[in-house]
C-alpha cells in the first residue's frame, strides 16, 4: 500500500477493520469519503461519535437505546404480560420487522457456553429473573438461537422460570422458507414435525 499518502493509508486500514469490509471495499470507501463535501464529512464523523457516546442499554430490557428506557418498553400499547427473550439487540430488529409480535423483550447479550467459559452470571439472566419476579408477566417466549448454546440457555432459563408460575414457550423450529425438504437436516425435520400446525 506504500503508494498512498499516509493519511489515506490509515483511513483504508481503519475501514478494513470493519466486519465484511475487505481491502478492496476499504479502498473504495476511503476514496468515496475523501471526495465528500466538508458538511457531509462532519455530519458523518459527528454521527459516528454521537452513536458511540449516546447508545446505552435500556434499564428494563437491556437492548441498545439512546434513552434510559427504550421505545418498546415505554410504549403502553405493547402487551406488558409477555417477554420475548433474545440473545442480541439485532434479534429484536429482526422480530420487529415481522410485525407479528407486540410484547416486550429481554436481551441476554449472549448465550451460556461452557467451552467459551460463558456462564449464567455472564449474561443478563439474573436480571430476567428479577424482572419476572417484579412484574406481572404471564408468558416468556424463548427466542434464543437454535444452536447448542442457544438451546441450552433456553432450557436452563425455562427450568428456572416455570416454577414462578409463568408459562414458558420456545419458538417453533421449522423448515426455512425456500428450502428444499430433501436438503433439510434430520433434527430440523423432527422439530418441524413436532411443531406442525393444522392447515
Amino acid at each position: 500500500m506504500g503508494y498512498y499518502p499516509k493519511t489515506l493509508e490509515r483511513l483504508v486500514l481503519e475501514l478494513g477493520k470493519l466486519p465484511g469490509i475487505g481491502e478492496k471495499s476499504a479502498q473504495r470507501l476511503a476514496f468515496h469519503i475523501i471526495n465528500l463535501s466538508d458538511e457531509e464529512i462532519s455530519s458523518l464523523s459527528e454521527a459516528l461519535i454521537s452513536a458511540k457516546a449516546k447508545i446505552v442499554l435500556c434499564q428494563k430490557c437491556f437492548t441498545i437505546t439512546d434513552k434510559e428506557i427504550c421505545d418498546i418498553c415505554e410504549n403502553p400499547k405493547r402487551d406488558q404480560e409477555t417477554i420475548c427473550v433474545v440473545q442480541n439487540s439485532r434479534d429484536i430488529f429482526a422480530i420487529e420487522k415481522t410485525r407479528e409480535y407486540n410484547g416486550l423483550y429481554h436481551v441476554l447479550h449472549g448465550a451460556i457456553s461452557p467451552l467459551d467459559g460463558i456462564g449464567p452470571q455472564d449474561i443478563k439472566a439474573r436480571e430476567l429473573l428479577l424482572r419476572i419476579g417484579e412484574s406481572d408477566i404471564k408468558e416468556v417466549i424463548m427466542a434464543t438461537n437454535a444452536t447448542v448454546e442457544g438451546e441450552a440457555t433456553a432450557m436452563y432459563l425455562g427450568n428456572l422460570i416455570s416454577p414462578l408460575g409463568v408459562k414458558v414457550t420456545r419458538l417453533a423450529k421449522g423448515i426455512p422458507i425456500g428450502a428444499d425438504l430433501e436438503y433439510t437436516d434430520e433434527i430440523t425435520l423432527i422439530k418441524a414435525f413436532e411443531g406442525r400446525n393444522e392447515i
Binding site: 467459559g117 456462564g119 449464567p120
Partner: protein, 252 residues
C-alpha cells in the same frame, strides 16, 4: 487436490469472517483437524446441523496445510438431549475440551474417539446411573492411553500394598500413609471405595461402569483428582472443568 471423506466429532467451533466457522473436528481417519465451514452461519446452509459442536457427522473436505475446507457433511448423531440439561452439557463440553487439549493437530486416536462417542451416547441418553462415573472413566482411560497410566496397585515409593491412603500427582499414583512424609507436591486423600473406583476405571469397560452406583460426593473428588493429574501430565489445564465446577451453583 483429492477430497477426503471421514467421520468425525466437532469438538470446537469459532466464528470466522461474516458467515463462516472454523471447526476443530476429531476424525476417525485423520485425527484432530481444523476445517473451515463456509456459509454455515447463514440460515440457508445445508451444513448447519452437522457443523455444530457435539455433531458427529460424515465430512467430505479438501485438505489444506492448516485448514481443510468442508465440501459436504451429513449428520449422524447430534447428541441433542445434552442441550436440555446444563450440567450434562458442561460435563460433555469438558470431555471435548480434554480431547482438544490432549492431542496435536493430525494426531490420530480412533480408539479414544470411539470411547468418547460411547460416553456422549450414554450421557445424552440418560443411560448411566451417574454421569460423573462416565467422566471419571473417560479421564482415566484417556490419560492411560496417552501413556500416563497411574500406578494403582502398590505404593509408588516403597512398593508396599498396605495402608494405601493417598494419591500423589507428582509420583504418578498411590502412596501409603508411611511414605507421606517423604513426598512433596499435591496429595489427594483416598478411602478404600475411592481407590477401588480408580482401579475399576482402568479395568472395566465403559458399558459396565455406566451401571455403577456411587455417591456423587466421592465421584466429584475422583474427577477433581483425575483432572488435576491429566493437567499435570499433558501440561494444560481445562478451563471447561473450572467452568463446570462454577456451574454447580451458578446463580446462587
Amino acid at each position: 487436490m483429492a477430497l477426503i471423506k471421514t467421520k468425525g466429532l466437532v469438538i470446537k467451533e469459532q466464528p470466522y469472517k461474516e458467515q463462516d466457522k472454523i471447526l476443530t473436528i476429531f476424525t476417525e481417519d485423520e485425527g484432530k483437524i481444523q476445517c473451515i465451514a463456509r456459509g454455515v452461519r447463514r440460515q440457508k446452509s445445508g451444513l448447519l446441523a452437522s457443523t455444530q459442536i457435539f455433531a458427529y457427522s460424515e465430512f467430505v473436505y479438501y485438505p489444506g496445510k492448516n485448514f481443510g475446507i468442508i465440501n459436504q457433511s451429513n449428520l449422524i448423531e447430534a447428541f441433542y438431549p445434552l442441550r436440555n440439561d446444563l450440567t450434562k452439557m458442561a460435563l460433555a463440553s469438558y470431555l471435548l475440551d480434554l480431547m482438544y487439549n490432549a492431542y496435536e493437530f493430525f494426531q490420530k486416536s480412533p480408539e479414544i474417539l470411539k470411547l468418547l462417542l460411547h460416553v456422549l451416547f450414554y450421557m445424552s441418553g440418560g443411560k448411566a446411573k451417574n454421569d460423573l462415573i462416565l467422566v471419571g472413566a473417560f479421564q482415566m482411560k484417556l490419560v492411560s492411553y496417552l501413556g500416563y497410566r497411574p500406578g494403582l496397585e502398590r505404593c509408588m515409593i516403597c512398593q508396599d500394598d498396605q495402608e494405601i491412603s493417598l494419591f500423589s500427582i507428582e509420583n504418578n499414583g498411590i502412596i501409603c500413609s508411611g511414605c507421606r512424609e517423604q513426598t512433596e507436591g499435591y496429595l489427594y486423600k483416598l478411602n478404600p471405595a475411592m481407590l477401588e473406583l480408580l482401579q475399576d476405571f482402568l479395568r472395566q469397560p465403559i458399558k459396565q461402569l455406566k451401571d455403577r452406583e456411587v455417591s456423587s460426593a466421592e465421584a466429584i473428588k475422583i474427577n477433581d483428582l483425575l483432572d488435576h493429574y491429566i493437567g499435570y501430565c499433558i501440561g494444560k489445564s481445562s478451563k471447561a472443568y473450572a467452568f463446570y465446577k462454577t456451574m454447580l451453583n451458578p446463580l446462587g
